[in-house]
């Protein structure tokens, strides 16, 4: 390879040709280009066409910005985005609070066996196939024989038609999401807590017996990067959320659980209006890119 001969000048990270990085990167970049970028461009082009494969006789003519104007004036699309935001602000505080409590329990000294057992079981919800989480939800929240209603009954509260009522269905997907993703928050916080240098934590424990003061003044700074990562990653995850909700409610009843990915899927693959769905997907992509930029800016400062 040309230019490789800069001989044993002892400088780290040199001793390779200009093109060497390219050869290592090319296969991955090329592949991602074919399967990621090209379809995105295709979706972008489609978003300017009338493209309904249920009505092939219309052809696929370019119609300018018509899809975008119809999407931006489509109340259902906005409602689905709003519902997604509502879902995010409902699940996240609970996940953060519960996750922090679990992390503190796991960080506390003592209870070796029980602690390692709890630590290991946290992985189970995270690994459970999202679609199967939805199936479990259908079983647990069944109106007639679901264990959720049995639980409410034994508390003296009457049973609920969970999946058949608007509020119940939303609550049910919220609960399943909290079950699945609280462990994620717990593990991130636990990682943060273990970054607190032991001697600082011990010195602080001698100074104060208040756990709250310890958390606020000593541990919190170490939890912040994880918290930021959570806020951003969970927002992207909620925009992606499809499998569990689709299996549990298909977006219904009515539009009670019609999150944005569910709605776009329906427009694209039930109504087969791929032009409109592509415009919606491009708008969703723009939101996602803004979120990823934020993620990089906040958490990968060192890269640049």
């Amino acid at each position: 390879m040309p230019g490789r001969g800069s001989k044993p000048t002892i400088r780290p990270n040199r001793g390779y040709g200009r093109w060497t990085p390219f050869w290592f990167l090319a296969p991955a970049v090329f592949t991602l280009f074919i399967i990621g970028i090209y379809p995105t461009i295709f979706a972008f082009v489609t978003s300017f066409r009338r493209y309904n494969i249920a009505r092939p006789r219309d052809g696929f003519p370019f119609i300018g910005l018509e899809n975008y104007t119809s999407v931006l004036t489509d109340g259902t699309f906005w409602a689905s985005l709003f519902l997604t935001a509502k879902f995010y602000v409902t699940v996240l505080p609970v996940q953060i609070a519960l996750g922090l409590m679990i992390a503190l329990l796991l960080h506390k000294t003592g209870m070796g066996f029980l602690k390692s057992l709890a630590r290991v079981t946290l992985v189970v919800p995270l690994a459970t196939t999202y679609a199967v989480v939805g199936l479990i939800g259908r079983l647990i929240f069944n109106r007639d024989f679901g264990v959720a209603n049995w639980f409410l009954d034994s508390l003296g509260i009457g049973g609920l038609d969970w999946l058949g009522s608007q509020g119940g269905a939303f609550a049910a997907i919220v609960i399943m999401d909290i079950w699945q993703w609280t462990p994620f928050c717990a593990l991130i916080f636990l990682a943060g807590l273990s970054m607190v240098p032991g001697e600082i934590e011990e010195a602080a424990r001698l100074e104060t017996s208040s756990k709250w003061a310890l958390l606020k003044h000593v541990q919190l700074p170490y939890l912040m990067p994880g918290l930021t990562a959570l806020l951003i990653l969970r927002s992207a995850d909620v925009l992606k959320l499809f499998d569990m909700v689709f299996v549990m409610t298909r977006g219904g009843p009515g539009s009670a659980t019609d999150l944005v990915s569910i709605y776009i899927q329906r427009v694209g693959f039930r109504i087969f209006d791929l032009g409109t769905a592509s415009a919606q997907a491009i708008l969703l992509l723009i939101i996602t890119i803004l979120i990823s930029r934020l993620y990089i800016r906040v958490l990968y400062k060192e890269v640049n």
Binding site: T121, I136, V147, D243, G268, L274
Partner: protein, 272 residues
């Protein structure tokens, strides 16, 4: 006194955590061993005589077996490709400085964030035109959009932790970059590669949206078939839960193996 009551609270708290995380999982597994009558009982039955009927039924059902086979083929193939393509890229990102590196990082992380519905629409049209709908290949390729970034991220981290001195020594012996990658980085980075491969397998195995829209009859994956039982008037709950258990069990075991790296896999290395 204070000390011991604190201990008791700690134990109660930890037990609550374990119950919370395991209950839905336990409820699925126990339903898979119940008779239909026991499943439909209200109030729910906690103690019951287990039956293997639902497992006998699904292991005799060519649809379920075929779907599990499809999932295995697709998840293994896409994982293999992700490692083959991703590990060299990770090496370049870990060891070289070049223009556009941060853009490349940004691109990789965007792939982690993007909703599959964004790609599902155009890929559906393209696959329709190329007559690739309902083939293993289309899922194997499309799953690379999230597997490749995961492999690249985790392996970059791992490769960065390999001391550069080793490379210096090899270079003085006249080794070229490819040899250095193959003889030093691949073996020393093997743990990271294995972890990233397991993640990529788990995510591919669990995926539903692409599998739902890009397959018809021949290549349905396990999650698609499991959810397809969810229609009709009288749902075969036992069969559904047995299928769910069969789907979840292997990935749970894999996840337990990589449990220490779970956070890294899910955040793409943002928090160590």
């Amino acid at each position: 006194m204070r000390f011991s009551s604190g201990k008791i609270l700690h134990a109660i708290g930890l037990t609550a955590v374990i119950l919370f995380t395991l209950f839905p999982f336990y409820w699925m597994v126990s339903a898979s061993f119940k008779t239909q009558a026991d499943i439909l009982a209200s109030p729910p039955v906690w103690l019951f005589t287990p039956t293997l009927d639902h497992y006998r039924e699904i292991f005799a059902d060519s649809k379920v077996l075929g779907a599990v086979g499809n999932s295995l083929i697709i998840a293994s193939a896409t994982t293999f490709l992700a490692v083959m393509l991703g590990a060299p890229a990770a090496f370049a990102l870990a060891r070289y400085e070049f223009r556009g590196k941060s853009d490349l990082w940004f691109w990789f992380i965007s792939n982690r964030m993007t909703s599959p519905i964004v790609l599902a629409l155009p890929v559906y049209i393209l696959a329709l035109q190329l007559k690739m709908l309902d083939t293993h290949l289309v899922l194997i390729l499309i799953y690379l959009t999230f597997n490749l970034p995961i492999v690249v991220w985790i392996c970059t981290d791992q490769f960065k932790s390999i001391p550069p001195d080793l490379e210096q020594a090899a270079r003085l012996d006249g080794a070229d970059q490819f040899t250095i990658f193959r003889k030093i980085y691949l073996p020393l980075g093997a743990p990271g590669i294995a972890v990233s491969a397991i993640f990529s397998f788990i995510f591919s195995w669990n995926e539903l949206l692409y599998a739902l829209v890009l397959t018809r009859r021949d290549v349905q994956t396990a999650p698609v078939v499991a959810t397809s039982f969810m229609s009709g008037y009288e749902l075969p709950w036992g069969k559904i839960m047995a299928t769910g258990t069969v789907i979840v069990l292997p990935v749970t075991i894999f996840a337990l193996i990589v449990s220490r790296h779970m956070v890294r896999g899910l955040t793409m290395g943002a928090t160590k």
